[in-house]
Symmetry: C2
Subunit: 112 residues, 2 copies
DNA sequence: TAATAATGTCGTAAAAATACGTCATAAAAG
DNA sequence: CTTTTATGACGTATTTTTACGACATTATTA
């Protein structure tokens, strides 16, 4: 019985981990990077930029969309995806705060 | 044939993603946080702090150790784990750089 | 209107991550 | 020396993630 134990942790840690996890796949990093570089929230032809099938890319897009990091605006038969600036800023804050908390003072030594 | 396509991406993206991924589980975040708070690199009794079996905690520790984020120093029968300050700083730099790259100018609007 | 394009959804196969129990080993305690 | 203690390594069950093909649907195009 290998049940998922993730929900036994602090909500705070779960929440933070979920965002780190979202950035834990090169395809999703590539999507975010692409959307940031091609400032004109280009449509789903992001597929052509990635070595993956359209279906798989769509799946990664959905993951990012579910977390709110990107949003898609339908224009006719096409869909324009773009970064959700507010959420991206919140993401930076969240991850930055965590990273900022795991530092040690310079005078600290492990093997003393 | 669902082969892993991760290696088809830029080394750069793969590398960055691997670090985000390492932080993508609450247990690993809890371990890092614990090591940072209890400044005295306490031994593997981190297990008592987590709702997981010792074996599983050990597995998470190994993951962090393999990435170099923490290091374990054997002292007799016990092992002192602690943050690898240099690597943690490098981690912050790496993730920070990526996050810094995915911003958009304020005057940018998706649905224009 | 018929054919083509662009997407999202569903089902599913394969791979990876999680989670433990059990063993083996080395050191500390008794 | 024998018994705990503290760990790491192995094997494996379950869950999750990753990756696609096949369809269905809605707009363009011809």
């Amino acid at each position: 019985m290998t049940t998922a134990k993730v929900e036994l942790f602090d909500d705070d840690l779960q929440h933070t981990a979920s965002y780190f996890k979202a950035l834990g796949h090169p395809a999703r990093l590539a999507i975010l990077k692409y959307l940031a570089e091609s400032k004109s929230c280009i449509s789903g032809d992001i597929t052509n930029e990635l070595p993956l099938s359209r279906t798989t890319v769509n799946q990664h897009l959905s993951e990012l969309k579910n977390l709110g990091l990107i949003k898609g605006t339908t224009q006719g038969a096409k869909v324009n995806y773009c970064l959700n600036t507010e959420k991206v800023m919140a993401l930076k804050q969240l991850l930055g705060d965590f990273l900022g908390a795991i530092t040690l003072p310079d005078n600290f030594s492990c093997n003393k």
